[in-house]
């Protein structure tokens, strides 16, 4: 798409139609010419916020703001003054917000501007464990149930409207509510089934790794695909037979029969929303997945150590972490989070990444059971981290774009990347340097039993993989602050600082 005149190829490109009064506005998400957002550090529109004409999110000095359009004024005022809005915030189901000066608005169509509470780290549904996606789904249903009691409804049921704050799911889209009347169909029913029910069912009934479908289907897993992939036995479950299989058939059947939206919503037969919601809740609550049988579920890193070595490693990690600055720690290859807990106990806010959905799920369950708010487990293949996705490649940010860690923890990880995935040590060091400025890292030499296991099934082509090679490779980006051998092993723990930090 180009707006340049056809007659004069040398003509300077015209700007894409900018809204009136926006000449001083920085590059917004609307430009087609420059998919890499040129962001005014002071103020820019969130590239993920373009779908809903009722409003959008913009950032100003690192703070999120939400602009409410005039067309949504009646619904917003009704919601804002309703007890529903207060109850949702009191229960911690919806992010809190405060009024902001409407002068901050971009363009001329603003009704209000609000400043919602900022969520530190945005995670995406394709990074969540089964239990996290399930809790997010149940929260969405809880919110819809409460909304209906107050004469409101959720206009959307996107999984991207849920974030994890202090370890718990919370709804972040304050503009999702509008007044409704009893018996009206739920506009977001399809979206709920595609964002939550379909992936959860596939994970529980077919294979937990099918969560990966969410990464490719940002609008949710198509129901016809879910219906095809599910085992036949899923048709015996009333909830799945209706919300997935029958629903998918109906979508196919009516796909080419457009009905004007307002009309079809109003003329449809009254829908028993209480029964529908109850059925969705029971169906999702009935989905179970036990974290076992995948890569590391029964693997505990400590089993490769003696008790003595474990105690020494714990003490060293605690000491090195205590010496780092800042609160935000990313535990890379966290497994079931033994060392994430040590970092959290030292007052750090930890995001615990692991490639294995079972290990991350186990950590999520224990974190929830213990009522911890300082550890967020996420599923992540560090050799293939979340890319930038969606419209203009800017809607869902890559892991590196979201990197804000003060410190990284990489324990019993480097041999998996270097030997298991053939990543050269220098590459690992450079990539870690993009994620954080301090690094507590364990070097596992080839002679180590766990490294030997990796080498047992492949040719040893890793000539540079040695402690000397590690020092040289990581020395490009990092300086050594401290180091100590782990007693009873040949492993060494390093505390590093990025050269420019």
């Amino acid at each position: 798409m180009t707006t340049a005149g056809p007659a004069d190829p040398a003509a300077p490109p015209e700007p894409i139609a900018a809204p009136p009064g926006s000449s001083s506005r920085p590059h917004a998400a609307g430009s087609y010419r420059d998919p890499a957002p040129v962001r005014d550090p002071a103020s820019y529109r969130d590239p993920a916020s373009y779908r809903d004409p009722s409003g959008f999110v913009f950032w100003r000095d690192g703070q999120p703001y939400r602009q409410i359009a005039r067309r949504f004024a009646a619904s917003w005022d009704a919601f804002e003054s309703s007890p529903l809005s207060r109850t949702l915030m009191e229960r911690g189901w919806l992010v809190r917000h405060e009024a902001a000066p409407v002068e901050l608005a971009q363009g001329t169509t603003a009704h209000r501007v609000i400043r919602p509470e900022r969520i530190d780290f945005l995670s995406y549904p394709y990074e969540w464990t089964f239990g996290q996606l399930r809790d997010a789904a149940l929260l969405t249903l809880d919110i819809q149930g409460l909304a209906l009691e107050h004469g409101f409804t959720l206009r959307d049921a996107s999984a991207y409207n849920i974030q994890f704050r202090d370890g718990r799911p919370i709804h972040i889209d304050t503009l999702s509510f509008e007044p409704t009347e009893p018996g009206r169909p739920w506009i977001a029913y399809r979206q709920f089934c595609e964002h939550f029910l379909a992936p959860l069912t596939l994970m529980a009934k077919r294979d937990v790794r099918l969560a990966a479908l969410l990464r490719d289907n940002l609008d949710g897993v198509p129901l016809d695909l879910a219906s095809r992939l599910l085992p036949a036995s899923s048709r015996l479950n009333l909830g799945l037979a209706t919300h997935v299989h029958l629903h998918a058939r109906a979508q196919r059947r009516y796909a080419d029969r457009p009905v004007e939206a307002q009309q079809r919503v109003r003329s449809a037969r009254p829908v028993n929303q209480a029964a529908l919601l109850d059925s969705l809740r029971r169906t999702i609550a009935g989905l179970r997945w036990a974290p076992a049988g995948t890569e590391w579920a029964d693997y505990d890193d400590r089993t490769s150590y003696s008790a003595d070595a474990t105690a020494d490693k714990e003490a060293l990690v605690a000491r090195f972490i205590a010496a780092t600055e800042g609160r935000r720690v990313w535990d890379l290859g966290a497994n079931t989070g033994h060392y994430s807990r040590i970092a959290a106990d030292a007052g750090r806010q930890v995001i615990a990444f692991d490639i294995d959905p079972a290990a991350a799920e186990r950590l999520y369950r224990t974190v929830r059971a213990d009522g911890r708010t300082d550890i967020l487990p996420l599923v992540m293949d560090l050799a293939n981290p979340s890319p930038a996705l969606g419209w203009a490649g800017a809607e869902r940010r890559s892991l590196a774009e979201r990197a804000d860690a003060d410190s990284l923890l990489a324990l019993a990880l480097v041999h998996h990347l270097a030997i298991g995935r053939n990543v050269p040590l220098g590459e690992i060091g450079r990539w870690f340097a993009r994620l954080g400025r301090q690094l507590v890292i364990e070097f596992v030499p080839k002679e180590d039993e766990m490294a030997q296991r990796l080498l047992a099934t492949r040719e040893d082509v890793f000539d540079d993989y040695s402690i000397e090679g590690f020092r040289a490779a990581f020395g490009e980006s990092w300086t050594i602050i401290d180091e100590a051998p782990i007693r009873g092993t040949q492993r060494v723990l390093f505390s590093l600082r990025r050269r420019d930090a």
């Binding site: 718990r168 169909p185 399809r190 829908v271």
Partner: protein, 62 residues
């Protein structure tokens, strides 16, 4: 009558089948709520005034 500000595609099939599905699942929903009422009624009579309203089954640990 409130306007519907739908910006997502609700899907023709999803809207049409929603009413049908809600009707189907309303049958067990109705019986469960009747059983629940009966149980509460019986319990209420046997427990006297000691039992107050029990938490609804929506309460999740959170």
């Amino acid at each position: 009558m409130h306007p519907v500000l739908a910006y997502i595609d609700a899907g023709s099939g999803s809207l049409i089948i929603q009413a049908v599905i809600a009707t189907i699942v309303a049958i067990p929903f109705f019986f469960r709520s009747q059983i629940g009422r009966a149980v509460r009624f019986v319990r209420g009579r046997s427990a006297g005034e000691s039992s107050t309203s029990t938490a609804d089954d929506n309460s999740r640990a959170s």
